[in-house]
Symmetry: C2
Subunit: 206 residues, 2 copies
């Protein structure tokens, strides 16, 4: 049975992106720094068909493990639009991606196994379709913040991992707001130490 998980980078002051994000400014002002640790790792760079990077460290292994479990993604319209402008032709997902949007658009198939499906159906129905596509693998709620918050408030997330960068960016898009705490709570599974980022894994009780 597919699990539904969130895996997201966050600054110490709680932001997952800077201000003024958009197709021409992916991750917003200063937001790229939240992912500095990731951009150093082979497991991430090779996903974008880029050369170089480090391996054999806790961060690289973690990225590999997370990528390997993903059978389908769900993302918001703004995250898709930001990414569409900057992903290489071979999109870095290699599996179905469901984009929550009111825009009517036919499925968009990319080389390398990524197909984007555009839908304005109820988030429960989209999740069911994503689970079916993922088969024995898991479904990642990729973001942005609003999409994650919607799924948390609907009690549909099983696991939540956060990679806390040791930086303060001062302003941007907050991960934890607009949440209904009667709907879910977090329990720590594990925190993993690394020199560049702190990984925390939570189980979500709905």
């Amino acid at each position: 049975m597919s699990k539904v998980f969130v895996d997201v980078g966050m600054s110490l002051d709680g932001f997952i992106a800077g201000l003024n994000g958009g197709p021409k400014n992916p991750l917003g002002d200063g937001g790229i720094k939240i992912h500095d640790w990731m951009f150093k790792q082979i497991a991430f760079l090779s996903h974008l068909k880029l050369e170089g990077g480090e391996s054999n460290n806790v961060d690289n292994n973690m990225i590999e493990t997370i990528f390997n479990r993903i059978g389908a993604n769900i993302m918001g319209k703004r995250m898709f639009e930001e990414g569409e402008a900057s992903w290489p032709e071979e999109s870095p997902f290699h599996c179905p991606v469901f984009v929550l949007t009111h825009e009517k658009r036919k499925p968009w198939e990319r080389p390398g196994g990524t197909t984007f499906y555009f839908t304005d159906e109820d988030i429960n129905i989209v999740l069911e379709k994503a689970k079916e596509s993922a088969s024995e693998k898991d479904v990642r709620i990729s973001g942005g913040a609003k999409t994650i918050q919607q799924y948390l408030n609907a009690g549909l997330i099983d696991e939540f991992s956060i990679h806390i960068a040791p930086i303060i960016i001062g302003a941007g898009v907050r991960l934890f707001e607009h949440l209904d705490m009667r709907k879910f709570s977090f329990e720590i599974s594990e925190a993993v130490n690394s020199p560049t980022v702190t990984h925390i894994f939570y189980r979500v009780k709905n």
Copy 2:
């Protein structure tokens, strides 16, 4: 040479206290939950002359280590006023406490080795006095948020530890705001896993 450190509990959404804090509502609405992990530990309870609690776990050992290094505290006026209303007669500091306030008040000596000194001098001068009092031990900037932010922005903190509780309180007093990031940055020393809270230790580069 004394180190200057901050050690503080925070919710996952970045709050160190809830809304409406004050002498009659210490830590604000829901703020007490941030410290749930601590209130279970002998090392903390015995400091308040309370019975019971757990020992022989990573959280208890950590509290013990932190308490043992403190030779003097510096705190803001509001933190003092909240505490004054709820600490036992034997205040839980057992060393000098410098309170930043414009109120003129004579030093207040409590049983068990705590003396509160009230001062409106420059924060640099207060820190020098605290270091002198602490002798070979360290100085803790105890809080609240504004006092911590003042000392961070002045480039006067050496080490910063945060205990991230797996809870979201939605509103309250934020730890990381009003900060001037040109003045300092954080480097991870270590993250320590526990089932109830995640401890992260940072070095501060000024």
